[in-house]
Symmetry: D4
Subunit: 163 residues, 8 copies
């Protein structure tokens, strides 16, 4: 079964994952959450990356703030897709965004928006769906629901404003 690894550089960033956890629940995805630091526990990072195949994990979400090296350091050690989640901890998250998205040639990180853990999980699911058609179906259903939610909001607003 498909499984996502989520790695944060610090447990103080956990609240940023709230929106992502909601998507995980909605799509009923399997995941594993780790707190691992590119700078403080580099060996634990490497050890974990080496265990991914055995665990059946095919995609990694890595979130970090400031000079956010974690996603790039992970991406350097695997050819599995790594999704970089820039976390707003200073400079409105711009430092984390640049530290993640501007990777040198050869080692890509699939970067999503600042604090956008929902999109990180959705992107992980979209990647896994290539191999797991059941996720594909759930993603399409989620799109339908999002669309319905907007249309319902629109209906309410029209009723209130455009009588």
């Amino acid at each position: 079964m498909a499984k996502i690894a989520i790695i944060l550089g610090s447990d103080s960033d956990l609240p940023v994952l709230d929106k992502g956890f909601k998507i995980i629940e909605k799509l009923n995805l399997a995941f594993e959450l780790r707190i691992l630091s590119a700078h403080r526990t580099p060996e634990a990072v490497t050890e974990y990356i080496n265990s991914l195949d055995a665990k059946g994990i095919d995609v990694i979400i890595a979130g970090a703030g400031k000079a956010a090296h974690l996603p790039g350091v992970i991406a350097a050690q695997t050819v599995k897709p790594v999704i970089g989640l820039p976390i707003r901890a200073s400079l409105d998250g711009i430092d984390a965004l640049y530290s993640i998205v501007q990777m040198p040639g050869g080692i890509p990180v699939a970067t999503v928006g600042i604090n956008a853990s929902d999109n990180a999980v959705l992107l992980a699911a979209q990647i896994l769906a290539l191999k797991h058609p059941e996720i594909n179906a759930k993603l399409k259903e989620h799109r339908v629901e999002m669309r319905a939610a907007v249309l319902e909001k629109d209906r309410q607003i029209q009723e209130k404003y455009n009588k």
Copy 2:
């Protein structure tokens, strides 16, 4: 066989793809290149997205500059992974980067660095490799080659400077 769609918003952006084409050649990837504009040919974009399944295309690279809507507009119409390539056309590429990476919740775009077409192609390959083990092998080989190239440069530099 695995195939990548590459879509540019304008043919004036073609030179940005040079580094990407080299990776395509090196990894011997199949691809299809299109010039389609989110604003000038929205129907052609939609039509092309609807043809992806039939063509066996599972991942899309979309590159655009300025207020770069193309990757997001494509991502809104498919649950296949969309890789956004911000192109430097003004403001050092910052406008394109923000227009691509800061997508609203629900519609992720996997963003790579400004003008980083090599990383866009590598990311596409890493995603396809989940389903296509032969690409996996090529990616690992490419990493080995990159590593060897750095070590060789290092050897030359050491010879020159650290006698």
Copy 3:
């Protein structure tokens, strides 16, 4: 009678319209408010744009935050003037501003300041006034009132500080 379409990408942005609604009331303008998303409900956007002529709507205000594609996506589907309202949702609104104002050649969006819904409505009124002289008169009256309000504040301040 002249009518303005106001489209928001999300109902969570409604409070930003407060200043705009005050201008609408003051100038006694007719408007229609919709919640429509460029990414979640693209067909509803298109459908609504196609209905504008029938509804006698000649100008559209579109507001969105982050990678704000809505104004540009609308502008691509009509030659009626589209006013882009960048909404502060992240990065102080800079991401929304760039995503709206830096449109590629051929598809202009008339961009106002970040969160400046009052100016969006005034601009819509100024455009409509070309065809509707009664709005022209109200706009001039509003200018006179603004001028009087500044002069009155100035009088009070002078009394307090420059005795």
Copy 4:
């Protein structure tokens, strides 16, 4: 007949208008070009604005660089729509963009992209088209041509790359 006023703060900015002149020619629009400075010739600015009605001019394009006050200073003296064209003269045009788009409440300026004189003229035409249906037709034709140009480029690219 509909006519556009184009005002630049300095004749050194004339080359920026090249793309705009092409649109003017293509749409066969009437225009009047002036060099007037908000700071050096404020009375001439006022005098010209007061002459607009007599000249049948209903929309103004004002372009300036650096601390670009011209569009706002003009907008303060008329309720006709003023299109602000930020010109890149320093700081990549960001100073001009902020000085134009971030107008205080009450005096909107319809801002287009940095150096985007083509979009400034198109926006002017879209505004005039509300009153002048013949411009409307030309604008739609221009959209059709732009669309055709992209499709032709796409056809050429496909021939070259996707044999």
Copy 5:
């Protein structure tokens, strides 16, 4: 007697002057405060500038936020020194700073830091002191006091930390 004109674009910016008022009191300076808008009351601005000579006012402080045109518009109408005070109202005050400091050649504005009304008043006093030696003496005294205040703080801190 030397007198400073202080002009704000909006009375909502009054709290920014608090630090400046303290300097005014300390140096016992004469001033006149006005609320005048470059866009809403341009004639009142001009009228006031024309009255400066009669009032014996030789230096002007002009504060504004966002697309802050007021200092430049005033500077265009007088050769008396105009001190520009950028006020933080959006974008951390960067828009106001650029709109004030990046004036085109020919019309300088002496710009101080964002919200730095104390420095605006001190700069005005330093300029007036060229003609009014009594202000010179007070400025030097103020420097001595500032120096003493730092040294006293340093003494307290040393006592607490460096026993």
Copy 6:
């Protein structure tokens, strides 16, 4: 007779003064140019500042790039007005601008635009004019000439474009 001190942190910045020298010539101002570094020759800076009174110098222009401390370091040692000229040497001049304009409370620097040596000299002249009426006359004459130059350009442009 009135005299301006111009101090640069490095002689490599001399070309930036070209526009300023033209104003000096036009207004027939007396000046003294020095190359003095806040960091390399702090004692020479102090020595020079202490000589200003004897030399009859009442206003100082200080230009520097990068972490431009020179204007602030000078301003800390005199209550004469110090005009800060940010020089573009890196980061488009933004680092120099911030290092000069964002001075802490108590020590103002009158900052002009990036590389705007013409405005630095004009501001110096405007300050000196408070005490030296003959400069006042020249400044007004210069404004008249600038105005005439714009009007002449406008006449030429009208002849060419608005036949």
Copy 7:
């Protein structure tokens, strides 16, 4: 015994040192804290720098906000390593960062992150450790503890999420 000088430009910045004080305590470092201003008390700065040798102080931490000249002004007066601590007082700390890190050639300042007093102290300790092996041991111990803390957090998180 090794000792660190910590100099702040203003006592209002003291809370920024909290994280640094914790490191000082943990590593049991000797330090001296001073409030000295580059602009208000330049002589006291010089006097203090001249006393460093006598006090056995070999490394200096200097923290300041806005146009933060203090670290550079100190670095210009000693060849001992100066660690610059940019303090967030405006513009998210970017002005302080640029004013400290972008020093002209010849006078380096070892800059740490915005408000990162913990890293400033650790860097000071790492520098002193070259001469004082006992600090070296403590630094390595601190790394071991940091590593253990992350691993413990990771264990807790795994227990909670990855049962």
Copy 8:
């Protein structure tokens, strides 16, 4: 004897070291230059760091561009001082600066200005001088020479301009 390690992420960055090499020559410093990539050759980085003690290297300069992880990745593996040199490769070097200076708490990097290899070497020398008094003497001599060079330039300028 004291020795500096200089590590670049890519040999294409070698020209940036020119200014640094001049300082090395002037101060007659010993150094070792390596090309090692945090992402492509992480093991070689680790291996080299482990060899530093044996080689008598006490300070490391690490330079990289874009998402510049190299200095931080090195700093995470040693308690020797690591000097980070941000290299301008995109975004004017801002991405490299943020990726280096904004390190998370616990792992400091002593950051110098963008492309400032001269200051990187000088800082390394200042750190080594704590243990090696002969470097101290050379550094002081270099300061004297820099001071003399500025004074000589000043003398020439005075001769030319202030006759």
